[in-house]
Amino acid sequence: MGDRVMGDDGTVSLTDNSLIVDISDALSEKDKVKFTVHTRTTLKNFNKPEFHVVRQHEEFIWLHDRYEENPVYAGYIIPPPPPRPNFDASREKLQRLGEGEGTMTKEEFNKMKQELEAEYLATFKKTVAMHEVFLTRLASHVMFREDEHLHVFLEFDQDLCARPRGRFQQFGGFVKSLGSTTDQYYLNVTVRDVHDFFEKQMNSLTEYHGKLKEGTVKTDKMTEKHKEVADSYIKISGGLVQLANIDPGPLDKYLMKVADGFEKARKLESRVASDEDLKLADTLRYYMRDSQAAMALLVRRLKCLATYEAANRALERARQKNKDIHAAEKAQTEACERFDSISTQAKEELLDFKTRRLHAFRKSLIELAELEIKHARTQQDLFKKSLQNLQELM
């Protein structure tokens, strides 16, 4: 998922060390996560060459909103903000396990606990990765990296979100989907898009986004169920061991070997589930959000178009009334320039988005296939070996 874009437009080359950002540590506390954002830089506008601050999820959102509302970046796809850390599912499962402790053997309980803890850890790592990717995309983008809000975010060692939530929106952070979907509808109805290209893009992006969303949901369900299947092996191998214990004789060694096979298979099956999640689900998820960011760009462009058309009408009226023509002309020229620049920029960004998507999918699908093959082969070998052992015991 690391989006070091191959396309040369908008990004700094990989060998550039002028601004390197990563999340060096993270702490999970009750219901919040504290990320340690670590920066190394050779840029002059920072006070020190290396420093770190602690940030929470809301501050990442604050940063994203600052980019989104800035007209200078209107023509760019703003990297989608990371999703809020959510450990509810993991916590619930751990709790349920605790409640059911009495119904299973100590071994079974420990194994399930281990699995859930691993899940929790994986969720945690993922949320760290997603927050990190957001920052690295900003830091490696030729325009975004110069932004003063980013610098404040990276360096300012006090809380950025001291103000209560409500005030954000006053500050113009009115960017969420709440706004953009109604915009789209409104704009599509009242503004004729001058460029065919963009109209097509908007339509196909909307559809694509929808399909990505669906794909993400379905893949998540599948990987979760896959994990459930793997975990169900725990009780079975445990049961076989217990059976062996009360059935002394020619069967007990046999059953123990089968139990062993199940236990090993379980670990592999679990890996398959988590790899499917990492390679497929996460890719779909990320591009779902990225495509949403692309749609936001097109909406901004349409807004710009609306402004331009309004300026045109204003100019006409001014000419008719022969009043404030100069001001109207100036406004119209500005609007036109802005619209042109945003259109040009948007076109490049969309192409770039396509390239990024291509490479990311290619990488993920290749890795997915390779891992699936690897795990299936390992399971195959595992069973072969088990069978050999069992045949000897016959």
Binding site: K225, V229, L243, L251, Q380, F383, L390, M394
Partner: protein, 478 residues
Amino acid sequence: MADSVEPPPLFENVDMKREEAEDDDLFESAVQSQPSANLCLEEDGHDLLNGDSDIGEEIDKLMLNDKSEMENVPINNQSTIATPTMEEVEAEGGDQFIEITITEPQKVGDGMGAYMAYRVLTHTNMPFFKKREFAVMRRFSDFLGLHDKLTEKYLKVGRIIPPAPEKNVIGKAKIKMAQSEQAGNGSDFIERRRAALERYLRRTSQHPVLIVDPDFREFLECDIELPKATNTSALSGAGVMRFINKVGETVNKITYKMEETDPWFENKLVHVEGLENQLRKLHYNVEAMVSYRKELANLTNGVSRSAAMLSVCEDHNLLSRALSQLADTEEKVEAVHMEQANTDFYILCEMLKDYLGLLGSVRDAFHERTKMFQLWQHSQQMLTKKREAKAKLELQGRTDKVDQAGVEVIEWEAKVERSQESFDRISKMIKLEMDRFEKCRIQDFKVTFIKYLENHMEHQAQLVKYWDDFLPEAKAIA
């Protein structure tokens, strides 16, 4: 001798007449004798091993089946588990076999009177069958009727009789209501029942005594419609009687505590109970795994469809193609998951269930022995009473009644002797049966787990192939 209904269970009403009938040495096979029984048991193990040979064929069958049949592919489409019989001793060889398959379930009739008929196909070289290959049509109640007859005849002497598949009233009603024969409308249920009936017949045919039983043979080879076993219906009068008897039996089992003189039986019972507990748990957990895997298959289908839809609205050609290939791959993976769920179910889950039923039959046999013991104790008590009565009459000088009392004492002495003999016989029989049962069980478990792992391994091999085929498509993007 099989004309009597099973006697009411309560201790006081034990039918004395039964003991006389026991003298016939029962309707055991004409060939039954101690030494041959022992020899047979050894052969049992040897021949069962030979059953493994067809697994390779089955796996090929699995791979060749096209998707439309996947969900209903029974794992045990055909295979052999060879069975020896008593005659082997005379035939001096382990080359006798019998192979029973059940195929072609067909719906007969319409509406509520409709029923499913199953084709029972037998291949055998056993001399006491009229032909080497023959088939008959039987319905479910015929199987239950067969089981009832066998139980009536052989349970009393302590044989372990394989239980017949359970009735499932809801599933059956669904079948009757179904307008068409296809559609998932209970076709899983039919397949499940077919496989269960097949396993039931095979297990029964493995038993050296049951295989030669005339009722069993008639069931397999007589190509006539068997008289409808009406008293197998759950709601019939006989069914109600059976239920009452069963309740009575259960009360008896709980309330009567036998003084065990032979620790072998106590240990065995403890062992059996332990096995039942563990198998029950294991069965439950395997069932859970089956249901999860089936759900996984469905969800994989969802992913496949999503990938297909993404492929359609993806404008980059190569990525679009790759996504479409991904959709195909996931569809194939879904099929593998489904097949694996079937493997889990038909090979593992159903075997565990069968053994829970079989252990129930073991307990039944043990219980018969307990009843024999009760009988024996009862006769001893009666004898004592009669002796006391006679002595009392003698003291009273009632010479007219003394003779009668003397006759009764002699009668009861004989009864005591007979019931003790019966008890000893059933104890011996149970030991033999348990020996055979345990050998079969161990072999069954071993074979089953091997089959299970082989199938699992094959499925993983399929996955390797599918993803291997997909990999170049992914690499071809851009």
